[in-house]
């Protein structure tokens, strides 16, 4: 049994959790129907009144919300509280078209920060810890979320924000940071930099809480070995609140969803049909305690599996797997489904750095997949034949994993942009929707 931030909630019986969910969902549906025109219109179209929703068993009757809805309703369309009651906005990085903005009342912020505090405690954190937050601050939810969670717990919080690796390492060694919060790709970069500078024995880190982008078990082991820490996954999205929608416990076999605030469903992304535990599908969340920006059945595009199996940590909240891919980052190359995480797995298994880039092109109506990998001193040899042999081994391993041929290109060290935020792993140069 581990430690909990809110034991009475985190270890409540599943019946109790269900009772909270029923009560809160009923209230939330009424709240959005009364205050958000889009939901009222959609529910009216479907002929559903708030009183038709009597509990979680009626959830499937409600309409989905998509990212397009959020863009269409930008900026104030989904706001369910008067602006005077709101104290904060956060926003997604929004690479295509309009941004998504989410609003928070003080109550919303408090609950969000409590969720993050649960995650820090699950990673072994106490008020004695020094929590080093190098997620970005500002509109991005990463920094503010973990920062707030650390405050709630009473830990010393270093609001480092992202970037300036030199300063990160200096504070880490001088102030004795014990818990690191950042993206996994930045954690891997920091680990490399710490080893390069020969200061590994000066850091006191014991755990890391890494999220905001996809990472594999192999990457986890790589970071754990290099930094000598235990690495915990955390999941969240701005639309629902931010990091802390779900988080890992010491078992590291999935992330507990904070079910007292968010109802998780897994659906068939094509039909919208709700799938049972253990089946892979698209993750959907309903926020049942959010006041300012409540969403009903928000489609995350993350593919995962839910499990209600008993967890050795004592927490009773449903566990979700790490996203197994996104319905929108899956590549179809030569008709074959390719997930960047598969390529990463091969690279790490073969001893290459986790820094890579996938470039997909189409020449003469034929797809070409190129994986750019940085040359390392260990791989380099004066003999062209030796290098080519290693290249061939990598091509073979990729073929084995993906089922298709991928051209491997060795590039100069540090020539692939190191992300201090989210890594750009895939460049798809095909114009698939022309002709």
């Amino acid at each position: 049994m581990g430690n909990y931030f809110q034991p009475e909630i985190e270890t409540a019986s599943q019946e109790q959790i269900r009772a909270w969910q029923d009560e809160r969902l009923i209230k939330q549906v009424k709240h959005v129907y009364d205050n958000v025109a889009m939901y009222r219109e959609r529910m009216d179209e479907l002929g559903i009144k708030p009183e038709d929703i009597k509990g979680v068993e009626d959830l499937h009757k409600l309409p989905f919300t998509t990212k397009d809805d959020l863009r269409d309703q930008y900026p104030y369309g989904l706001l369910a509280k008067p602006l005077g009651d709101c104290v904060r906005i956060q926003s997604t990085s929004g690479t295509t078209g309009r941004r998504v903005v989410a609003f928070y009342t003080q109550h919303d912020i408090d609950l969000w920060e409590e969720c993050c505090a649960r995650a820090i405690v699950a990673a072994g954190g106490t008020n004695e810890d020094v929590v080093h937050v190098c997620y970005g601050y500002g509109l991005f939810t990463g920094g503010p979320g973990l920062n707030g969670g650390s405050h709630k717990l009473g830990s010393l919080t270093l609001p480092m924000s992202s970037g300036n690796t030199e300063r990160q390492i200096q504070f880490m060694t001088d102030l004795g940071s014990t818990i690191l919060c950042c993206t996994p790709s930045y954690a891997a970069y920091l680990a490399e930099s710490i080893i390069e500078r020969g200061v590994k024995d000066k850091i006191k880190l014991k755990a890391g809480i890494f999220g905001a982008e996809a990472w594999t078990e192999e990457m986890r082991h790589d970071i754990e070995d290099k930094l000598g820490i235990k690495a915990y996954d955390i999941y969240g999205l701005t639309e629902i609140s931010g990091p802390g929608v779900s988080f890992e416990c010491e078992e590291q076999t999935g992330m507990h969803v904070n079910e007292d605030h968010f109802i998780a469903e897994v659906i068939n992304p094509k039909t919208g049909e709700v799938l049972p535990d253990g089946e892979k599908g698209e993750l959907v969340f309903t926020s049942i305690t959010k006041e300012a920006f409540p969403l009903l059945r928000y489609r995350t595009r993350d593919i995962c599996i839910l499990s209600h199996e008993k967890c050795s940590c004592g927490r009773t909240h449903v566990k979700m797997t790490k996203p197994l891919g996104r319905s929108d980052d899956m590549l179809i190359v030569k008709g074959v489904n390719v997930f960047p995480s598969q390529i990463e797995t091969v690279l790490l298994n073969k001893g290459y750095a986790a820094n890579y880039q996938i470039i997909v092109t189409r020449v003469n109506n034929s797809d070409n997949l190129e994986v750019q990998v940085e040359m390392t001193p260990e791989m380099f040899s004066d003999s062209v034949g030796e290098i080519e042999k290693k290249e061939k081994e990598l091509v073979g391993a990729l073929k084995g994993m993906l089922g298709i041929y991928a051209d491997v290109k060795l590039v100069a060290p540090k020539s692939i942009t190191r992300s201090e935020g989210k890594a750009v792993r895939v460049i798809d140069k095909r114009n698939l929707y022309q002709n």
Partner: protein, 142 residues
């Protein structure tokens, strides 16, 4: 009597070779011999320089990936048959040659040949026994 050649990884991209040349130039390094082995995707640039230590430091500082490779440098006469003579020595001793390139000495009738072989100690001994003139790192200074 081996000498150290610097082998640098060069990505197959416009301007990458020029970058190595610039690092050498900025560090005041003089190149005595240069040879490029290339494949479809990358190249290995091999160089003999006047100051190997400083050249290596300059490359490391700029983040290049390189190796110091032991090679044999031989001084011979610039006339028909001289290469053949040395290759025959290797052949007789069953020494596998990986690659070779030549260096213009600037002197009439004289040429330096650089050999990368599998077993450098054995090769060196045999060349010495046969009276072939071997060069040292000193010969490439200044």
């Amino acid at each position: 009597m081996e000498i150290k050649q610097i082998s640098v990884f060069v990505e197959n991209k416009v301007g990458n070779l020029a970058e190595v040349a610039k690092v050498m130039s900025d560090a005041g390094i003089s190149l005595h011999a240069i040879s490029l082995a290339d494949t479809k995707n990358f190249g290995v640039l091999r160089m003999l320089v006047d100051d190997t230590y400083n050249a290596a430091n300059a490359l490391r500082d700029k983040g290049f990936i390189f190796a110091l490779t032991p090679v044999i440098a031989v001084a011979t006469t610039d006339e028909p048959g001289s290469l053949c003579e040395i290759l025959n020595i290797f052949d007789e001793a069953d020494i596998n040659l990986e690659y070779l390139y030549d260096v213009n000495t600037g002197k009439k009738d004289s040429v330096y040949l650089i050999f990368k072989v599998e077993n450098i100690e054995v090769a060196t001994d045999i060349l010495k026994k046969k009276g072939v003139k071997l060069l040292t790192q000193e010969d490439f200074k200044a």
